[in-house]
Every structure is written in C-alpha cells, then in structure tokens.
C-alpha cells in the first residue's frame, strides 16, 4: 500500500510541476516570438545632423525638412575682440541658413546659403548624406555614413589676377568640394563619438597652397540630462601647405552646449573658425583658441514634417 502512496504522491507532484512549468513555457514562448531585431537598432547617437562644425551620422528622416540657422559672432578676445566690440557681439561674422530634406530614411539632400568667411563670401552649398551602416546592439558596432557636397560663390569677380576671388579665367574657380566618411559609435545612452576622414578640394587656391586637403575630424556628445548635452568637435588637417604655414593656419575647434526643447534643438557654442562650410574653415582658419580668438555662436534646428508616415 505504501508503495502506491509514494507513486500517487510523486504522480501528483509531477503533474503540479508540469502545470507550473507551463507558465514558464509561456514566458519563454513570448520571448522566443519577440522580434529581437527591433530593439537591436541603436538610435539617437546624436540629437541632430550637425555638431558645431562637424556633420553627424544622424539623418533627416524620410519626408522631414530640417531648417537650420547657424550664427557666429566675432572674436571674444584677441586683436579683433575685447570690450571695444563688446566681446565680438558687434560683429556678426557668419550666418548660414539651410534646408535638409529626407528623401529616404537613409538619404538626405540639403541646400544652404552662407555669408561666407575669409576672402570668399556669398556661398551657396549643396550637400547629400547617405547612410551605409546602422549600428546594432548585438551586431555591427558602428554607424557609417557618406557625406559630401559642393559650394559655389556668387560674389563678383575681383578682376585682379592674383586675387583668390578673381573668377575671370574660369567659372569652375567658384566651386569647391568636400567629402567625408562619417564613422560613429554610441557607447551608451550618454556618450557618442564620431571620427570622419575628410577631403576638401578647392579649384582655385593661392600660390603655394594645396588644392586638395586631407583631414581627420573628431566629435563627441555627452548627455548631461535627458535633453541637454555637451558637444565638441575638432579638425586635424593632415597636409598643411607652405602657404598655410605662412598665414599661421590653426585647426578648427568647437565646444558647445546642446539643448532640445520638443521641436527645436539649440546649440550655444564657442568655436575658433569663421566660415561654416568645410571647404572654408578647414583650409583657411587662422584663429587660435589659446589666443582668445574664440567666437560665440549658436545653431538652431527646427524639423518640419512634410510627409507623415501612416
């Protein structure tokens, strides 16, 4: 009889275990049916399509239009700054308006107009960005995009043969080109960085200057709250020309504070360079961070939805 009792008890025990196990099965069933690729995608490495001077891997999404205003004042200190110019606020040295539109989630095109800096002003630009690789949590560790474009100046030709803005010989001299491979990684929900091998080609340069410059750009964003971040970027020109050495070329540096307010993204920033296009600030910057030749500026981005997703 005892034998039967043991068998009965173990039978009931096994049944109970099986019922409990079924609820565990429920959990593993739900987990196995959940599409793990959705969560795998790393999003929002940067808040917007640009840091200070450097473009990020973020795209304007399909059907959206990003209207941007970039603004730089004059030098805060140094020979052109100080109290006499109210620390640069008297001088609006740079301004750029731009529209970037997302044709697909992975491809955007943009158009811009900037006041221009150095000896070239009235600068129009066209640019395009294409996303090559998406960073994954459990897969490819980097986000990679291609970015490139051209600038065109509509300023009057000086007519003086030695001038950099003498376009009498060829209209092609009004054009400059730039291209970048943007390689970024979001390390965690606070910190993202970007490295960008860069090429700039100018059709017309001074004697002793290079038509083509190579550079490595680096940038980063560090979130200090859900909606605020510290941003920075830096360009290292690899082939500094004799002409650049002569004029005292400096590497462009930017440091800023990023604030997002629902629909807008604001950057309050300090940067060395005037000129807002790669083909301008990269070869021409002579402002030195340590000499106080730093200017205050801001970027504003507002995204409009042109085509809504269903």
């Amino acid at each position: 009889m005892n034998c039967f009792k043991i068998i009965l008890l173990s039978g009931i025990l096994l049944l109970g275990m099986r019922l409990a196990a079924q609820d565990d099965e429920l959990a593993s069933l739900v987990n196995s049916q959940t599409d793990s690729t959705i969560d795998d995608k790393v999003i929002a490495s940067f808040k917007t399509t640009r840091l200070i001077n450097l473009t990020t891997i973020e795209q304007v999404k399909r059907g959206e239009l990003d209207f941007r205003i970039a603004h730089r004042f004059g030098d805060i200190a140094g020979s052109a700054g100080g109290a006499s110019t109210f620390f640069g606020f008297d001088n609006v040295s740079d301004i750029r308006f731009s529209f970037d539109y997302g044709i697909f989630d992975v491809w955007q095109i943009g158009i811009g107009r900037s006041k221009g800096g150095y000896s070239t002003s009235q600068v129009f630009d066209l640019n395009s960005k294409f996303k090559l690789a998406q960073q994954k949590k459990n897969g490819f560790p980097l986000a990679i995009s291609l970015f490139g474009g051209l600038t065109f100046t509509s300023m009057q030709s000086s007519g003086v043969l030695s001038d950099i803005n003498n376009f009498n010989r060829s209209t092609a001299h009004r054009f400059n080109y730039f291209g970048q491979i943007l390689i970024a990684r979001k390390m965690n929900d606070q910190f993202s960085f970007i490295i960008a091998p860069t090429i700039v080609h100018r059709n017309l340069v001074f004697l002793g200057d290079n038509n083509t410059h190579f550079a490595i750009a680096a940038g980063a964003r560090f979130k200090i709250s859900k909606r605020a971040a510290i941003i920075a970027d830096y360009y290292q020109v690899l082939n500094v020309s004799n002409f650049q050495k002569l004029i005292g070329h400096q590497m462009p540096i930017g440091l800023g504070f990023e604030l997002e307010t629902g629909g807008h993204v604001f950057h309050a920033l300090f940067s060395t360079n005037t000129g807002l296009m790669e083909s301008q600030f990269l070869p021409n910057n002579t402002a030195k961070f340590t000499a106080g030749q730093v200017r205050f500026g801001f970027n504003i981005s507002r995204v409009f939805t042109i085509i809504k997703d269903k």
Partner: protein, 186 residues
C-alpha cells in the same frame, strides 16, 4: 494485485510522466496591435505597433503580453525619437509587459463574446504596478480575439512631461490593444 485504485494511481503517475500530453492549450498572438492616443486641445498624437507578442494558457488563465517600445511608429519621426529617448527611455527599458490572470476566462470551445478582466502586473518604463484591466474576448471558429482599451497615467510610470510641452501631451494616454490568438503548435 492491481486493484482499480491501484490502476488509477499508476495512471496518474504515468500522466505526470508523459511528455507529449497537454494540460491546457497554449494560445499565441504574434501580431498584437497596440495604439497609443494622446489627446489635448493643442495636439492629437497617435502611435502604433503591430509586433507585440501575447501568450495565454487556457487552463491556468495566465496571460503574458510583451510590447517593444522601439516598435511604436509615430507619424512624426522626431516624436518617435523623443518617445524613445526622453519619455520611455527604451535603451534602459526596452519593453512594456503585462503578466497576469484573466478572470472568468470563457470556454474556448464555445463561440461567443464575453467581458473579462485582466488582473496582474503592468510594467512600463521600468515601473511595475498592479492593475485590473477590462477586456473583451471573442471566441469564434477562426480563433480567439482579445480586445482592450484603457488609460495609463504618465505620472504613475515616472514618465515626465516637461513644462514646455505640457499642453501638447496628455497626462493620461489612451491605449487600445487587439490580439488575435491561435493555438500554439508545440
């Protein structure tokens, strides 16, 4: 030696051992649709996902639902990013889950519509709360459909709405869920 009682006892023992036997059908829904509505005089916002997963045990009436936050699609992409980055923090809390029991679960062999309530734990934004959610279960020859709509207070789940957009985002979000269950093949 083998009395009737003995046979039954051994029978139960064998039942406990038998691997293939089912003690309650498991039903699965792989395309749970969830819609979110935020309505304010300033702005109506709607988001949708169709990739939620739910499973229920007919015998124990236990139900599990898992929704991935990143799967929600908003008509404005920027909103979608804000939803993930600023409100639901999907990197930290990738899913919203319900784990509970369906009270008065109807017999799935009889066609009909019945009102039930789901009692259990709702986890959103990493915050667990005990809830009772009203739902409708429709049993037909095609399968079992579960429907529910209820409201969730953002503040209950530590979802902060900044003052600047407080007029654009409702304090209470309306949630509508639709799940079509099919018997799970094991």
């Amino acid at each position: 030696m083998f009395s009737i009682r003995g046979t039954i006892i051994i029978g139960i023992f064998l039942l406990g051992l038998s691997p293939g036997l089912s003690y309650g059908q498991i039903w699965l829904s792989k395309n749970v649709t969830v819609k979110l509505f935020s309505e304010t005089p300033m702005e109506d916002i709607e988001a949708k996902t169709e990739t939620g997963v739910a499973a229920l045990n007919e015998k124990t009436a236990k139900i599990l639902v898992k929704i991935q936050i990143k799967s929600f699609v908003f008509p404005r992409k920027l909103m979608q990013e804000h939803f993930n980055e600023n409100y639901l923090e999907s990197d930290k809390f990738p899913t919203a889950d319900f784990d509970g029991i369906i009270q008065d679960l109807p017999n799935f062999n009889v066609n009909g519509t019945s009102q039930v309530s789901l009692k259990g734990t709702l986890t959103i934004h990493g915050v667990k709360r005990e809830v009772v959610i009203p739902a409708t279960i429709i049993v037909s020859n095609k399968g079992v459909i579960g429907k529910s709509s209820f409201k969730v207070k953002c503040a209950d789940y530590n979802i902060e709405i900044p003052k600047l957009v407080v007029k654009n985002i409702a304090e209470e979000i309306e949630i509508a869920i639709l799940a079509e269950f099919k018997p799970s093949k094991k």
